[in-house]
Structure formats: structure tokens, C-alpha cells
């Protein structure tokens, strides 16, 4: 009984997870083995009923809701056109490539010729690199060596290899570039040589010298910190913006499953124990005229589901994450994914963080097979989104296959079989083998041995394909047999595809024919640096100013409306779709409070079930501050992540950070990127803040990544296109070890009669605040961090928590004191009476300033009155004050500076407002 039928199926070559598990079951049931050309494919049929639905409506439902034409096809039938007997018939989206694998030689007689080929083939070679590449292949000794293997000009595979490795995604050319920075107000110029070296590497190495818990940083797939005597934890963060922007579900699931391979490929391998997420998207109710590829609502839904399936099906808890809505992300959304792993500190007596390849070691590829999917993903991520972006790099992750591989590799690791391990992510074998061969100084790869999903791939495609769920492992020849037997037991495909050498050469053959022969050290030398012009115009010179705004009268109504703003309100609907209990490790959960529905500052897990030690984790995003000054955006973002850790009881002296930069294009172009110099200066300033705050906090950067080119070109009302650039965004993640999880605290107030304290000073800093944004203003006075005094306060607070003096602790973040007092009260389902006149302030002598300023470095704590003297003794002359108390009723009362109540609301009304935008979503 239906009016129309929609059929949705995958396009050829798109990963069909249900199809492949069905094949496993059929093999089991029928006791057969499918032949290489046999497979099972799935598709979906939707029957629509609704008298007024036209076929056009049905088509729209299929196009805009059920199918994404990048990975799927759909067909629409009216009832009378639908054949009940044959249905859709049999549609086999099998890849048929009637193609003989061919190596093509690329002419390099001039820079222009090579650049032309780069454009035609989508190599995305940087014009600056072209002459270096040509010079290498024209060198006499190189020509002579190559001749011995029948090679002359570079092959397509060789250029693909160089292009992948030189891409900004893999090589971080931007961060390692040279910036000519000019401050237009001060009239001063300086050269900033290598942001990575000066702002990330140098501070972290200096801190590592003082903090022996920093085990391994800056070289491996993820950073390693000591958890306890027996275990280390491993952390890294990634983004998957471009693919998610085109196919939200596929991009996001591939992102989370992909970042999980980083800790798996760190040291000799680690077990995954936690995932985190951050989504920056356009407003969910966007109704403007620009037409993003996917509407933000559909995009966000798809991203949420992708990370849900990727995390849940991997059996890894996903307890923490954040969402930020802003129209700047209409051009390209941001999808941050973070992975934390755990490894024993030693494997068979050897440090688990160490690994190397040696001549003679077998190169083994484990996990999925190779297809055309994901080709040029890395180079596409190094460009902004346009109509020509190849769709082929969108994939669908397969957490099931990866989970099997994860379990297998950990067993192999514990048996001491793994000499080296790394993942196949961006760049595929080209990256994983290219990088691992640097340790032994050479390799020979026999490409015809790589298992393929279907025949007909060119050699270069096998080499750079980003087909997912694969790891590259180095195994001593004597361990080969045991490794393979274990692989079979776990139903994981592993194949020996070559061996490491010390020849100094990357040598690739196909059926005995050499298709690449390149010096391993080619990539580490000789290439010109990228250079950028950076011009900083301070906010006053850009015409920013404080709004002329009087104190509001309806302060209760205002607080309710601020609580209902999308970037403040409850995101419970996302949190509950993610398994945060699997592995049985949750201590401080993402949702806390009497009714388990208020969001925790941070999460704490107990990764080793026998131990009372815990790991706290949290992240922060504050991109709107970039509208005023990215230095303070970065400083406040880092501080927020740190405070979140301190709030639950994390040790401020054992915090490690992870920086994930997402930036619009910073290369100046008078037509395509006229404000490129300003954006470059914004990047420099953010890095300076990173350096300054990490140094002041003594916080190493355990890992970090950058994703540039966060711009999109969107069609407008008249068919014109507009370039939309995202706000310069830094997502900062922190972890810290907790020596005794029984001392952790949550943010909800606990008992009537407890005293409420505000720690830290409130200043007149409403620039780019939620309060100003509510009125449509940006303002000028952006919140500024004072890291030295803040750290003193955090250490005192940490002691108070360790001495169990604190009943609840909550940082004051986006939205300011008013919003966060309300959250503390909502969490405890208890009223509060607060006097604003008692709040420690400096220059914020107005009720709304105190309530909504976003000055960093502040907390709200509630304590048993009996602990008053002990607590105050710990804080000495640091800025703090008792500002009121928790009441036995449910009234939330704030008395203004004039001594009269300015806000008086029942808790239930606060909570209803906070849940209004998304509370009905499940």
C-alpha cells in the first residue's frame, strides 16, 4: 500500500558494508567461498504514502534527503510504474574497468609542460616545487641510475609519490613556511621563520626536558604521555572537512575511523580507548540565499551519524565533543575527530613507543583491499571547495573491518611480532611505505601483490589509493608465519608486498618492471620554502568599536534567550547517540547532574580497570574571537580546554595539549584572495599565542594538525558565486592524568546551604561574546588571558579538589557568569542566591558586564560551609570571593549591584530555555 517508490543504491566502487557482511554470512551458511568476481550488493527501497505527494515531491525527497548523488543513485516510480513482480530488477553496481594497468612517462622538458600535466592529472604540484623536481630527474647520476632499470623521465607513479608527500596536508608547508609579518599600526616588520619550529616544536621540546612524563612527541602518528608505571596513553586529532562537506556521513565516518588508525600506528601500536568530536557548521535553521552543497541541517545530521557509527561500531567510547554554528562554515564545514589510545609501556622488554624498520623486514599490508576510492584525497584537501573538486575521494569507512584488524594487531603486538607499524591514511601506501622506508633507508615494493577490490587499476592508483582500513606493518622474516596465522584467525587479510632495504632508494616494481626508482631523501631536501606576506591590521584600525548599549531591563528574559542560543544550548541529542560507556571505563560522564542532562566540563575515564588512576579529556573552540584578534582567540581557546581539565580534578602540571588549526587560504591573491595577507597574519598571531600559553602553562603539545583552505564558493540567488571563508578556528584538546578518580568532581551543585564561590577576576571583556552576538554586535574588547596568574589559581584549585574541599566545580566559558551559574544550578536541580556586588571584578562595574563578560581564567565552585576557612587559606591573595549560596528551593536569584534582584527564575524555566532549540531531537 503505497503511492510511490524510491530506490536508492550505491554507485559502483562505493564501499557497501552490508553487502560484504552478507557475503560472509552466505559463505558460512552455504559453506562456499565467493569467487573474486562474485559479490553481494545492497540497496534500499522506500515506499511513500501521502495523497498529496507528487512524483516531483518524491524526487525531491530522494534527492535532498535520502540519496547523495556523489555516492548514490536513485530512481523514482509511481505506483502504476512499479512492477510488483520484478521490483527494481537486478542492478549490479560492479566496477568494470576494461583497462590494462599502464605506467605513463611524463615529459619534463620545461616547467610549463610539467605544470600542465600537474593540472591535467590533478596532481596539485606547487609551482615552486616544479623546477626542483625537474632538476632532480635531469641530474646525470640520477639519469644513469634510472637507465639501469629502464627509466628515463619520471613516471606518473613517481610524480604522484612526490605530489602526495609534498602536499600541504602531508608536509605542512604552510606551517613550515616563511612569513613576512608587518604590523600596520606599529609600522614594524619581522620575518617569522617556520611557525612549526618556533611555536610548536621548540616550546614542546623545552617542556619535555622538564617533564619526564612526555614520552614521545613530534615524530610519530600520535603523541605519547605516561599514564602510570605500566601504561602510556596516546593522543592525536585530525580533521576531515572536505569529504564531510560533500558527503557528510561518509566523510565523518571515514574521519573518525581514520583517526583511530593513528594511535593503532603509534609506537608498536595502541588500543583505542576514547574518541572526541568537534563540528563547525552553518546554522541548523539556515534560510539564506547561498546554496551550500548540503544544507547545514542535513550536513550536521550526516556528520553526527557518521561519527556515531564509526565510534560505536569500533567499540570505542565517544564521550566528549562540541558543536559550533556560524555562517562562515557554510563554505566548508569542519569535522574534528580526536583519538586516544593506551599501550603498555613495554612490549617484551622493549619500550612500546619505539619502532623502526630494518633491511630485510617484510612490508605487510593488513586490512582492506585497494580500489580507486580516495585517490587524490590529500591533494584535494589542500585546495578549497569548488565545482571541479573530484568526488572520487569521498569514501565510506568500515569500522567492522577495522575493529577486526585492531584486535588482531594488538595480539600480534603483545606477542612481540611488530617491528614497525603505521596507518594508510592520506596518501595510502605512498605515505606509509615512503615514510617507513626512511628508517631502514630504502624499500622494494612489488605492486602486483597488493590485493585489489577489482582489476584494472593503474600502478600509480594502487600506490596512492586511500582505500580505508589498512595498516602497513614491518615484520621480521622469522615472524612472518606466526603473523599470518594470527591474521587468519582474526579473519583479517594480510599480504606481504615487499621488503625494506638500505639501498637509499624507493624502488617499486610491477610484474618485475620498475615503475619508480627515487632517492629516499629527495623529499627531505632541496625544496623551496613556501613564503607568505602577512599584514596585521589591529582591530581599532579595522573600525571595530564597543557598541553603545544600555543595561537591559528584562534581565530574566534576556538570560533565558541567551540560554536558548544554539551555541549555548543543550546538545544532549548528539551526546546520547554516542556510546560513552563501552569498555566500562567512564568515571565523569558527558552528561552529569541530578537528572543526568547537564554537560560536564570534561570527561574522565579509567582506562586500566584495575587502577584508580584516571585520564581526563576535554576540548575547546572559540572561533568567534577571531573576528577581533586571533591571538586572543587562540589563548582563550587553549585556556578553556585547560580549565575544563582542572575543573574535574585533572592535574594542571600534567596536562598535554593537541592543536588542530583550520584556516582559510592565506596565500595572497589580488583577485581570488584579496585579504590573504591579513589571514596569514591571523595565523601567525594564533601561533604566537600557542607558543606563549603553552610555555606559561608548561604544557607540551603531544600532537597537532593543520587543515588550511577552509573556503567555499557558494551559488547565490542570481547564479553568481560567493567565496565564503570560515572563521580562523583552533580546536584545542587537553588530557591529564588523575591520580585518584575518587576525588574527581562534577559541575552540578550538590547541597542546599553550600557556599558559591567565583574564582578569578571578571573584566569588561564582552568583545565577540555571546551577549554582543545576541544583539548583532562584535565589539572590540576581546577576552584576554593572563596565563601566569591564571596558572597560580589553577594550582590552588587543584589542591582544593585533591583535599576534597570542593563539592562542585565548573569553569566559566562561553556566555559568561550568568549562563554558567544557571548551569551549575540546573545540574543540581537546586536554587541559588547570588550577589553580583561580591563578584571579584576589575572594570566591569555593570550587572550585564559581570553576567556576560567572557574573561578567561574563572571558575564557579560550591563548597560545604565547613570547608570555608581551609579553602580560603589555599587561595590567599588570588582573586576569589564567596558570592552567594545554594538554596533549598528551586529559585535562581541574582541580586544586582544595586542590591535588588535582577534575575529571578525557577530552575525549570532555565532548563526549558536551555533545551529549547534541540531538546525535542533524539
Amino acid at each position: 500500500d503505497f503511492d510511490s517508490v524510491l530506490w536508492v543504491g550505491y554507485r559502483p566502487g562505493v564501499r557497501d558494508n552490508p553487502g560484504s557482511t552478507a557475503a560472509e554470512a552466505v559463505e558460512d551458511l552455504l559453506r562456499i567461498r565467493l569467487k573474486p568476481h562474485e559479490a553481494i550488493y545492497t540497496s534500499k527501497r522506500y515506499c511513500l504514502k501521502g495523497g498529496n505527494l507528487s512524483l516531483d515531491d518524491a524526487d525531491r525527497i530522494a534527492r535532498e534527503l535520502l540519496a547523495n548523488d556523489i555516492i548514490q543513485e536513485y530512481k523514482v516510480f509511481s505506483k502504476k510504474d512499479w512492477d510488483l513482480e520484478t521490483g527494481i530488477g537486478i542492478i549490479i553496481p560492479k566496477v568494470r574497468l576494461d583497462h590494462k594497468p599502464t605506467v605513463t612517462v611524463i615529459p619534463i622538458h620545461s616547467d610549463e609542460a610539467l605544470m600542465r600535466v600537474s593540472k591535467e592529472r590533478g596532481l596539485a604540484l606547487n609551482p615552486n616545487d616544479v623546477s626542483t623536481i625537474r632538476a632532480y630527474f635531469l641530474r646525470d647520476n640520477v639519469l644513469a641510475e634510472r637507465r639501469a632499470f629502464g627509466l628515463s623521465a619520471p613516471t606518473d607513479l613517481e610524480l604522484e609519490y612526490i605530489s602526495q608527500a609534498r602536499s600541504d596536508h602531508c608536509n605542512h608547508n604552510t606551517f613550515k613556511g616563511l612569513f613576512r609579518y608587518r604590523d600596520l599600526a606599529a609600522g614594524k616588520s619581522e620575518v617569522v621563520d617556520n611557525l612549526f619550529a618556533t611555536c610548536i616544536e621548540a616550546p614542546t621540546l623545552a617542556i619535555q626536558k622538564q617533564k619526564p612524563w612526555v614520552i614521545s612527541v613530534l615524530w610519530d602518528n600520535a603523541g605519547i604521555g605516561r599514564f602510570n608505571d605500566d601504561y602510556h596513553y596516546v593522543i592525536t586529532g585530525e580533521t576531515h572537512n572536505s569529504p564531510s562537506n560533500m558527503e557528510a556521513y561518509g566523510g565523518a565516518i571515514t574521519g573518525i575511523v581514520g583517526v583511530y588508525r593513528d594511535p593503532m600506528g603509534t609506537g608498536k601500536g595502541s588500543k583505542l580507548i576514547m574518541g572526541m568530536y568537534g563540528y563547525c557548521v552553518g546554522p541548523r535553521d539556515y534560510q539564506g540565499e547561498l546554496k551550500p552543497h548540503l544544507h547545514p541541517k542535513r550536513l550536521l545530521d550526516g556528520v553526527i551519524e557518521g561519527v556515531r557509527d564509526g565510534g560505536n561500531k569500533s567499540g570505542i567510547p565517544t564521550p566528549y565533543g562540541q558543536v559550533w554554528f556560524h555562517e562562515g562554515y557554510l563554505g566548508k564545514c569542519l569535522v574534528f575527530v580526536t583519538a586516544i589510545g593506551l599501550m603498555p609501556s613495554q612490549i617484551k622488554g622493549e619500550p612500546a613507543e619505539e619502532k623502526t624498520t630494518s633491511p630485510g623486514d617484510l612490508i605487510i599490508m593488513c586490512g582492506g583491499r585497494v580500489g580507486k576510492d580516495g585517490i587524490h584525497g590529500v591533494t584535494a584537501a589542500s585546495e578549497s571547495f569548488s565545482a571541479d573538486t573530484p568526488a572520487g575521494h569521498v569514501q565510506i569507512g568500515d569500522p567492522y573491518t577495522q575493529k577486526k584488524m585492531h584486535d588482531f594487531l594488538l595480539e600480534a603486538r603483545d606477542q612481540g611480532l611488530i617491528a614497525f607499524i603505521t596507518d594508510n591514511g592520506g596518501g595510502g601506501l605512498s605515505s606509509s611505505i615512503g615514510e617507513s622506508a626512511c628508517f631502514s633507508n630504502g624499500c622494494v615494493v612489488e605492486l602486483e601483490k597488493v590485493p585489489l577490490k577489482y582489476e584494472g587499476l593503474d600502478q600509480w592508483e594502487i600506490w596512492v589509493s586511500e582505500s580505508q582500513e589498512r595498516m602497513t606493518v614491518a615484520i621480521k622474516p622469522e615472524h612472518g608465519e606466526r603473523f599470518m596465522a594470527l591474521s587468519e584467525k582474526h579473519a583479517v587479510e594480510s599480504t606481504v608486498i615487499g621488503h625494506y632495504t638500505d639501498s637509499g632508494k624507493l624502488h617499486i616494481t610491477y610484474d618485475g618492471q620498475t615503475c619508480a626508482y627515487v632517492h629516499i631523501d629527495l623529499l627531505t631536501s632541496q625544496f623551496p620554502r613556501w613564503t607568505f606576506e602577512a599584514e596585521w591590521t589591529p582591530p581599532e584600525m579595522r573600525g571595530l568599536f564597543e557598541p553603545v548599549l544600555s543595561e537591559p531591563e528584562d534581565r530574566s528574559g534576556l538570560l533565558l534567550d541567551i540560554l536558548s542560543r544554539p551555541n549555548i544550548s543543550s546538545k544532549e541529542w548528539i551526546i546520547r547517540q554516542y556510546d560513552h560507556e563501552v569498555q566500562g571505563t567512564s568515571v565523569i560522564k558527558p552528561l552529569v547532574g541530578k537528572d543526568y542532562d547537564v554537560i560536564s566540563d570534561a570527561v574522565v575515564i579509567r582506562p586500566v580497570l584495575e587502577s584508580l588512576e584516571g585520564l581526563a579529556a576535554a576540548q575547546a573552540l572559540l572561533p568567534t574571537y577571531s573576528q577581533i584578534d586571533t591571538y586572543h582567540m587562540a589563548a582563550c581557546t587553549i585556556d578553556e580546554a585547560v580549565r575544563r581539565i582542572v575543573a574535574v580534578g585533572g592535574d594542571p602540571d600534567r596536562i598535554g595539549g593537541v592543536d588542530n588549526f583550520c584556516w582559510p587560504t592565506i596565500q595572497y591573491d589580488p583577485i581570488d584572495n584579496p585579504d590573504g595577507k591579513y589571514k596569514a597574519a591571523q595565523l601567525v598571531r594564533a601561533n604566537w599565542a600557542l607558543r606563549d600559553v603553552c610555555t606559561a602553562y608548561g604544557m607540551p603539545l603531544l600532537s597537532g594538525k593543520d587543515s588550511m583552505y577552509v573556503d567555499g564558493h557558494l551559488k547565490g540567488r542570481y547564479g553568481e558565486t560567493h567565496k565564503v571563508s570560515a572563521l580562523p578556528t583552533l580546536q584545542f584538546s587537553c588530557t591529564s592524568v588523575i591520580s585518584d578518580i575518587t576525588r574527581c568532581v562534577t559541575m552540578d551543585c550538590k547541597f542546599a546551604g553550600d557556599l558559591v564561590y567565583v574564582l578569578g577576576e571578571t573584566r569588561n571583556e564582552l568583545g565577540a561574546s555571546e551577549y554582543y552576538e545576541h544583539f548583532g554586535y562584535v565589539g572590540l574588547r576581546v577576552p584576554e588571558l593572563r596565563p601566569e596568574s591564571s596558572m597560580k589559581l589553577y594550582r590552588a584549585l587543584s589542591r582544593a579538589i585533591q583535599e576534597e574541599l570542593v563539592a562542585s566545580c565548573h569553569g566559566i566559558y562561553r556566555g559568561g557568569l550568568g549562563v554558567h551559574l544557571a548551569l551549575v544550578a540546573m545540574g543540581g536541580s537546586l536554587g541559588m542566591e547570588i550577589d553580583l556586588s561580591r563578584v571579584p571584578t576589575a572594570g566591569a562595574e555593570q550587572d550585564d558586564f559581570i553576567l556576560y563578560s567572557e574573561t578567561p581564567g574563572r571558575f564557579i565552585v560550591t563548597i560545604d560551609p565547613a570547608n570555608r576557612a581551609s579553602l580560603e587559606a589555599l587561595f590567599g591573595d588570588l582573586p576569589y570571593a564567596c558570592v552567594g549560596s545554594v538554596s533549598s528551593g528551586t529559585d535562581f536569584v541574582i541580586n544586582g549591584l544595586a542590591g535588588k534582584p535582577v534575575i529571578h527564575l525557577p530552575i525549570s524555566e532555565l532548563k526549558a530555555a536551555w533545551k529549547r532549540p534541540f531538546g525535542s531531537l533524539i
Binding site: 558494508n17 552490508p18 557482511t21 552478507a22 560472509e24 554470512a25 558460512d28 551458511l29 559453506r31 556515531r308 560505536n312 561500531k313 569500533s314 567499540g315 570505542i316 568500515d398 569500522p399 567492522y400 575493529k403 577486526k404 584486535d407 584467525k489 582474526h490 579473519a491 551526546i575 546520547r576 547517540q577 554516542y578 556510546d579 560513552h580 560507556e581 563501552v582 569498555q583 566500562g584 571505563t585 543526568y596 580497570l609 584495575e610 584508580l612 578518580i741 575518587t742 533524539i922
Partner: protein, 227 residues
Amino acid sequence: MVDYFHMTRSETQNRSVHALVLTGYGLNCDFETAYAFELAGAVSTRVHINALISGETSLKEYDILVFDGGFSWGDDHGAGVLEAVRIRSNISEALFEFIEAGKLILGICNGFQALVNLGLLPGFDGDYETRQVALTFNDCGNFRDDWVPLLGNPDSPCVFTKGVTRTELPIRHGQGKFYASPEVIKRLIDNGQVVFQYATPKGEPAQGQFPFNPNGSVHDIAGICDS
């Protein structure tokens, strides 16, 4: 209240019950399930499904077999369906011997879904092969993680829940709606085979009310045993 944080395992030498916790193919609650059995006094071992099939491990050496939680085969064709296919097509004989010997089987989450699909539950009149109940997509339409209050049935013959009248457990599933024909439901109730029901925080049956009954399970059923 039990101090879970400070619970430790008892001495190994005094333990005589051996529990086998399945792993592999996307199962993912094996470590914590094994740990819980250790806390409860058993010696527990994580064993890959294929180790049972190949004979590397024999079921005979164990007293308790645990089908633990996870996403076996990605849950692509109904939760627990393909795990049941793999077990039935490869080790059903050993499994029935295990049951015949009066040993215990526990299914949690994905494992419960597998037991139902194998037909081990509800096991009316000793029939351990017919599938009579189903677990299907949650009424709320999505995967859900939440802590839910449960009512234990003091009259149930279930060994694992003896003495448990009320408890709270985390649910995390997308396909947890217990469904069966009215006759089967009635029989389960009459036989005392309903082990757990979803409840309100006050300890009354949830009567289908979301989020206490998180998935729309018929009769608030959160767990059953065989007769």
C-alpha cells in the same frame, strides 16, 4: 552501596568457575565483561569465536559461556543475526552439549540479540532452536546511550540475577526493542522468564514511557531467561 571503585579480584587459586567471553568479528565488550566475571569470582578468558571453531579452544573446559556486547558483523543485517549464523553453522553441536551439561550461558546486549536469533531464548519446553522473539529498531528511531532503572523479577529462575530486585544499568543500542506475539509474551510472564523490566526511577514498571523504557520493548521487557 557497593564501592565499585575499590572492588578487587579475589585470589586466583580459590576460584573454580571458568568463564569464556567471546571476542572477534566486531564484539567489543569483551574486556570489561571478562573483568566483571573476575570481580564476581570466576576465572575468565577472552576467546576468539574462530578459536572455538578451529578447536584451538574447547567449550568443554568452561562452565559459563558469555555472548558479550558489541557490533558483531557491524549489525548490518539485524543485530546478532550473523553472529547466530556463524555459531549455528559451525559449533552448534558443542553448544548443545554445553547446554545439556547444565552449564550457563549469558547474553548481554549484542550477545542477547545473538541468543534470541540462535533460538536459545526463550527456549520453551527445551526447544533451543526456534526463533520466537525479536529485537528490532528502537521506537525512538536512533541509537541511544542512557542509564536506565531496572526491576528484577524475584520469581525468575535466572541464576545471574538471583537477589537482584532493583538495579541501574547503562543501555547503548539502536536495536533493543523486544518484540514477540502476545501469546509468547504471556508465556514468558507466566513462566517467570521475564528477568528484567525497564522501570521508572520510583521503581515501577515504565509502562512503555520514554525514556525509562528506552526502546519501546513490549511489556517493558529488558531481559529474559529460558525456562
